[in-house]
Subunit: 417 residues, 4 copies
C-alpha cells in the first residue's frame, strides 16, 4: 500500500482534520503536501457532503442539506516540477470505500443515493420529482444492494466523481465572469442556474478562517459543482481503477485536489445528490509531460484513458428519448439534454409496470452502471439519446414479453417527512 499523503479521520468533519481539505477552487489555497513525479501515494477522502447524510430511512437529511459545505475535497497536492502548460499524468491505481471499518460515515460499509428537493438543489428530473428522496446501499465487496430497492444487486463501477488541478487567477476570473453572466439571465430561478462564490461554510485548507487571506480566497473561490477546464466534478463513471488522466496544469505544482468518491453511478448522475456516495481512499501514481498542453492541443479539458476493469454486462434494455416535450407537444432544436431526460423518463415508466415507484426507478438510474449515449445529434430537429440498462442487475426477468411484466410490491424509497 502506498504512503498516505492526505489522511482523514472519518469520525470527524473535514474542518476538524489535522490538515483540512477545501471546498472551493482557488490558486492560493496552500498545498497540503508535495509529491514527486514517479511517486505512488494514497489520498483519503470524506464523502462529498462531509457526513451530512445518514444511514436511515428518512430523506429529511437530504432535504435539509447545507450545500455550501460541498464538495469536501482532499488536497491540494503539489507535484514537484509541474509548471503551467504541462500535462499532469495521473494513474488511478486503486480506490475503494473506507477499509477495515464499519460506522456512521458514508463509505463505512454503506453509501447513499439522494435526490435533492427542488427548493434546495434540484436534480435532472426535478420538475417531475420535486421532493427529497434517498436510498441506502449496503456494500458486499464490489456489489451493492439497497433495502429501498429490493430485487436489485449490481457490481459497482467505482470511481472518483471529482479531481482536478487548481485554476490560475486568470482562469478563475474567467469562470466567475461567465457564471455570473449566466446567473444574471435569471437570477431568481429555483434551482439556480449556477452557484457563485460564497463565503458561507467555505473551507480553504490550512488558511485560517477569519484571516484576510482566507476571506479573499473564500470570496473569490469557485464552487466545486461543475466540471471545468481543470477537470473538476466530471462525474464520469469511467474514471475507474486503471485509468490514466492527463490534466492541464495552470499553476506551479499543479495543486491537485479531489474527492467525491462513488461506489457506482449511472451516466448523467441524474440524481445529483449522489451516485452511490462514499468516503474512502484512492491511490495514485503521478507523472508530468512537460509542455504537453501545447504539444497535444489539450487546453480546455483533461483527456483520459479508462481502466480495463469495469463490470461486464452484456444484455441491456435500451430506452430512447428525443428532444420533444411530449406533454405539451413542443419541439426543441437538437437538445441532447431533453433527449436524455426523455430516455430517463421512458425507463422510469417502464420500470413502474413491474411495481417500482417512479422515485425508486429514478434513484436506480442515478446509481446503477447504466450507459447514457448521445446517439444522433444532427437529425433536425430532434436530438436522440439512449439509455442502456443492464438486465442482469434484476433478480427477475425485466425484458418485455407476451406474458407481461412480473408485477410485485417492491417497497419504496426513503422520503422526507
Amino acid at each position: 500500500m502506498p504512503d498516505v499523503v492526505f489522511s482523514v479521520d472519518q469520525s470527524r468533519s473535514m474542518t476538524e482534520q489535522d490538515v483540512p481539505g477545501h471546498n472551493r477552487w482557488h490558486p492560493d489555497i496552500p498545498a497540503a503536501v508535495e509529491v514527486r513525479p514517479g511517486q505512488e501515494f494514497r489520498v483519503e477522502c470524506r464523502e462529498w457532503t462531509d457526513g451530512q447524510i445518514r444511514n436511515n430511512d428518512s430523506a429529511n437529511d437530504v432535504r435539509d442539506i447545507g450545500l455550501d459545505r460541498c464538495h469536501m475535497l482532499s488536497g491540494p497536492i503539489s507535484v514537484h516540477g509541474a509548471e503551467p502548460g504541462d500535462l499532469l499524468v495521473i494513474d488511478i491505481l486503486d480506490l475503494g470505500p473506507v477499509p477495515q471499518e464499519s460506522g456512521p460515515a458514508a463509505g463505512q460499509g454503506w453509501g447513499y443515493t439522494g435526490v435533492f428537493s427542488k427548493a434546495n438543489g434540484g436534480g435532472f428530473l426535478t420538475d417531475y420529482y420535486p421532493d427529497a428522496l434517498k436510498a441506502i446501499w449496503d456494500f458486499h465487496g464490489q456489489q451493492a444492494t439497497s433495502r429501498h430497492l429490493p430485487g436489485i444487486r449490481y457490481t459497482g463501477i467505482t470511481h472518483p466523481g471529482l479531481f482536478g488541478t487548481a485554476p490560475s487567477a486568470e482562469l478563475l476570473a474567467k469562470w466567475n465572469q461567465r457564471e455570473r453572466d449566466l446567473i444574471a439571465t435569471d437570477p431568481s430561478r429555483v434551482p439556480p442556474l449556477a452557484l457563485p462564490p460564497n463565503t458561507s461554510d467555505a473551507l480553504a485548507g490550512t488558511l485560517r478562517p477569519g484571516s484576510a487571506e482566507f476571506d479573499r480566497v473564500a470570496g473569490e473561490g469557485a464552487r466545486t459543482v461543475p466540471a471545468r477546464e481543470n477537470g473538476g466534478n466530471h462525474d464520469i463513471k469511467n474514471f475507474t481503477r486503471g485509468s490514466r488522466i492527463f490534466y492541464p496544469v495552470f499553476v506551479p505544482g499543479a495543486k491537485f485536489s479531489g474527492g467525491d468518491l462513488h461506489f457506482s453511478q449511472g451516466d448523467g448522475e441524474i440524481t445529483f445528490c449522489g451516485a452511490i456516495e462514499m468516503g474512502g481512499y484512492i491511490d495514485f501514481a503521478v507523472d508530468v509531460i512537460k509542455g504537453g498542453m501545447d504539444t497535444y492541443g489539450i487546453t480546455t479539458n483533461p483527456v483520459f484513458m479508462p481502466g480495463n476493469v469495469e463490470p461486464r454486462y452484456s444484455e441491456f434494455l435500451t430506452f430512447i428519448g428525443v428532444s420533444v416535450e411530449h406533454d405539451s407537444n413542443t419541439n426543441h432544436y437538437m437538445d441532447a439534454t431533453i433527449a436524455y431526460r426523455n430516455a430517463c423518463l421512458n425507463a422510469i415508466e417502464y420500470l413502474k409496470t413491474f411495481g417500482y415507484t417512479g422515485e425508486q426507478a429514478y434513484l436506480l438510474l442515478g446509481s446503477a452502471p447504466i450507459e447514457g449515449r448521445i446517439s444522433g445529434v444532427v437529425d433536425i430537429p430532434n436530438a436522440c439519446c439512449s439509455l442502456y440498462l443492464p438486465t442482469a442487475i434484476f433478480d427477475f426477468d425485466v425484458r418485455p414479453s407476451a406474458s407481461g411484466p412480473v408485477r410485485a410490491d417492491r417497497g419504496q424509497a426513503a422520503v422526507s417527512s
Copy 2:
C-alpha cells in the same frame, strides 16, 4: 436466406423500381407487402440519398445534394394482425452491404462519409467546418479503410440508421404542428431548424405521382430526418445484428419501413451526411405483443435490446467537453449538445497534432465506432459529455507520451471545388 419481400435493383433509382419505396412518413402510403408474425424476411435497401453520392475524390456531389429525395425507404411492410396499441417486435437477424456485386452504388464494396455545406444541410460542427467534405471507404469484409484517411482501419458497427412504423393521422398532425411551431421561431435560419412537408421529389410508394391521393400524402407527409415516436431516423449505432426492437404500433398492420443502412457510425453521427452510408440488405423476424404499449408503458419511443456482436475494443482515448463556449467564455446551462460538441472539437484538436486535418478528424468521428456518453447532466451549470475513441483503429500509437505525437503527412479529405 429468408425470402426477399422488398427488392431493389441497385442500378436504378428507387423511383424506378418495380415496387417503389417512399421518402415521407404517412399512414396512407399503401403497404408494399404483408408479412405474418413469426416470419423471417429480407428487405433490400437503397443508400439513403438514392445514389446521389459517388465513389470519387470530389465533395461536389455532397455540396449539391438534393435533400428532398432523402431518405429513400423500403416498405411499408404490413404485419398481419398488428393493431394500434400493440408492440411490434422486430429482430435484426442480419444486415450487410449489397452482396456479391461491385459497382457504382454505395454499398457495392464501398461507402461514404459526408459533411454537408452549411448552405445545404449543415452538420454538428457546421460553424467550424462550413464546406462540403467526403471520405470514401472501401470494405474489407467487416473492416473499412479510406484513401482519404490513411493510417486508420476499423471494424464497422453495422446497423440501420432508420426504421419505424407509420404514424396515425393524429400523430402525423402533431408532428407537423410542433415542427412548424419550431420553424416559426426562426424561419429564415440556415441551416433550417426543421424540414416541413414538401412535395418536391416526394415518393409515396405505389401511389401514382400526379394523383390526388399522392398529392395529399406528399403535402402532409412528414420528412424522414428526425427520430420521432414511431422510431424513425434514430441513428443509434447499437441497432446491430441480433438486436430486438419493440416499436409502438399506430396504424393497422403497423406499416413498417426503413433503410439508411450504415456500415459504421460514431455516436452522434456528427457528420450528418453520413456515417458510412451504404445500400444493402437487412433480414428481420417479426412478432407482435398485443396491447404491449399500455402493458409496458411504451408510448413515446421504441425500446430495444442491442445485439451481442459488436466490435470489441478495450482501450480508448477519451475526450471531455462541458457546456461552455470557450472562445467567447459563454456559459450555457446544462446543455449536453454543446458539451458533446466540445468533446468532438477537443478530439479534433488532438488528432491534428498527429498530422490529420481537422476535416479528416471530423469525418473520422462521424464514422468510426466511437462512444459518445452523457457523463454529468446535473452539475450546474455545466453538462459534461465524453467521447471514447478506440486507440486500436490507428496503425500508429495515438496515446499521449513524453516523446510527443508521431506527426506525419496524412493526406486530406475530399473537398468541393
Copy 3:
C-alpha cells in the same frame, strides 16, 4: 465483394466441380489458382463431408458416413513469391454460409452437429455415447436454433475449422512416419489411433484419377483429420472474422488450402462429426513476411491473432473436471484430456436434471460457443480443466437455486434406426 478464385457449385460433389479441390495433404497437388500478396479474394467451400449429411431426423447418414472422402478442401491456392521459410499472413475478412440460396446442402440455411458411432469414427465421449447422433440447426442470421434442442438459441462463433499450407515432401514423410508408429502401438483399435494414407475416395485437385501421379499422391498424401505443423484441422473456434494468421511456408507458393467451415463450435469440438457444419464462402487478404519463420521462431505451428467480433456473453455456468476416472477411482497423471472429458460429463449430468437427454447435452457442448480452458496442469497428480457454458443461450433459468431445476420434456436428438 472480392473476386472468387475458387468456386463451388453446391449442387454437385467436389469431385464434379470444374476445378476440383482435394482431400489429402501433398506438396504435388497442383495449385488451382495463384494470388498475389496484397490481394483480397473469396474461396467457396463444400461442407466437410461433401454433402453426405442431410437435413432430416435420422442419424443413419452419420452412422454410415464414408470418412475417406473427408475433409473436402478448396485449393490449393498458390501465393506469388512465397518461399519456404516465409510466413504467410492471412486475414480472414469475412465468412458465412452459402449466400442467397436455400437447398439440401449443409450451409444452405442450415447446418448439423453429428456424433459418429464408435464403430465408424467415434468421438470425445464415445465410451459413454457409442451410437450415431445428429442435430439439425436452422440459421437465423447470426443465430442458430435446432428442432432437436428446443429451448436453446445462440449467436454462432463462425470460423473455418481447417486451413493450412502444403507440407514439403520431407515434412509429409515425418508425418507419415510418426503416425504409422503411433498406429503400430495398437493397430486394431476401434476407433483407430490415427488414419494412415488411403487411396480410397482420395481426391487430388486437378490430378486425373488413375494417372500415375495421382496414384503416387493419393498413396502418400496425409489425411486431413489432425492439426499439424502446416495448420490444418485446428478446429479453434476463435479463427473468427477479423483474425490474422501467420502460417509457416514449406513449399514454393505456400499452396494454401482449406474448408470445413463452422457456423459455431464449442472448444474441443467434442462431437467430432461436427461443430455446426456448413458449406459457404470465406474471404481472405494475403501477404508474406519474408524469412519470418526464423525471424520470429515460428516453426512448429501457426501463430494467430483472433478477430475482435465474437458473440459477447458475460454470464457462465462453469463445470470442472480433474484427471481421475471416477467410476473406477483411477488416477491419471496430469492428463488434461481426461480432465476436460470429466468437465464435459459433469456439464451433461447437470443439464440432464433440466430434462435434456445426455445425447442432446453432448450435441450442445460440441456446437455452442462454450469455452474450454486448461486451468491447472501442475498440481500433481490432477490436471484440472474447466468448461464455461453461457447461461443466456437457454430460454429458461439454467442456474442452480434453492428451488431446483426447471425440468421439462425437451424432446430428443436425431438417432439412428
Copy 4:
C-alpha cells in the same frame, strides 16, 4: 467490511497463530469457527508456502523450499446446518493482498512467481527448464510489474487458488487409494507422480502436535496439491471477485478451508511454484442448497459462475500446440497436456526473439492473465490447444510484422546460485 472469522498475523508462521490453520485435508481437523447461512465474513490467509519465499534476487529459496509445509490453509470454517449431500453456495465478495501494510511477507505490496527445480517439485516445463527460477512482482493497485521482467505491466486477475470442503473419511480413503496406486506405477520418479500422506511439517488446526489424534490425522490426511472432488487446489484463474461457487458437502458443517491467494495467474499456472503468490484477505457470503448434490447432479466437482469483473483485454497473440513431441517426431494420441505444453513452448520461442530469456518468458506465462484453451480434442491423433497472450501487457509492439521483432536487452529472471 465483514467480520474477520479467521485472522492471521502476517509477521508469524501459520503454526504460531492463535488459531492455526492446516495443511492437510482430513474430516477430523476441528472447525476453527462456525458461520451461518446468509452471513458475510472475512478470512485472512498466509501465502501458500507460509513465508518461505522472500523479496530478493535469488531463487535459492525456491530451490530449497520445504514442500511438506504447503499449502498453508485458513479454516476449517463450519457452516451451520450444512449436511452431506447439500451444496455449499459461496460468494466471493472481495479479495486482495494484505491491506494497509508493507513488509517481508508475500502479499505486503509484492508477490512472486517461482519455478521449482526438477529435483524439488518440478513444473510444467521442467524437462526444458530444470532449475529454480523466481520473479518478484510489485503491486500498483490492481496492476503488477516486475524488475525481473522489464517492459511488462498488467492488471491482475485476482483469485484464490485453493478452497474446498473437507472430505468424508470414505472419500479421503478413495483419494489415498487411487493416488497410492498411481505412485506405485513409478515410485522413484523425480518429480514424483503424486504426494502421499506425510506427517512431516503437517499442521492440523487446533489439534495438538504429538497427540494421538494429531498423529492419526497427519498420517491419513491428503496433501493439498491437487484439485479433487471437494474443490481444492483448482488454480482456476476465473474464481474472481463476484464468483459464486457450488461446493459438494461431504461432512456435517461442510468444513470449508482454503488460501493460496493469487494476485494473477495464467491458465495452467505452468510455473507451479506460483502464479503471483500472496497472502491477503478474502470476503465471502455463504448459503446452502439442501440436497443440492442430487438435485443438480453435482457429485464429482464443484460448479461455479465466474464474476463479472475481469481485466478486459481485446487483442491477443495466440500460440498453438498439438500432441506431438517435435524433437523426436513422436506422436501422442489426443494428449491435451502435451498440446498445451507445445503451445507454451511456442510462445516462449517467440518471446525470445524480442530479447527475453526463455526463463523470463516461462515466468510470464505462469503469471499474466493468459488464456489456455482446449481447442480440438477429437481430430485423431492430435489434440490441439491454444494460448492467448494479451498484447497490451507489453510496452512495445509484440505483434509480428515485416520489420521484425524489437529486440532489446530485457534483463533476466532471478536464478539460484
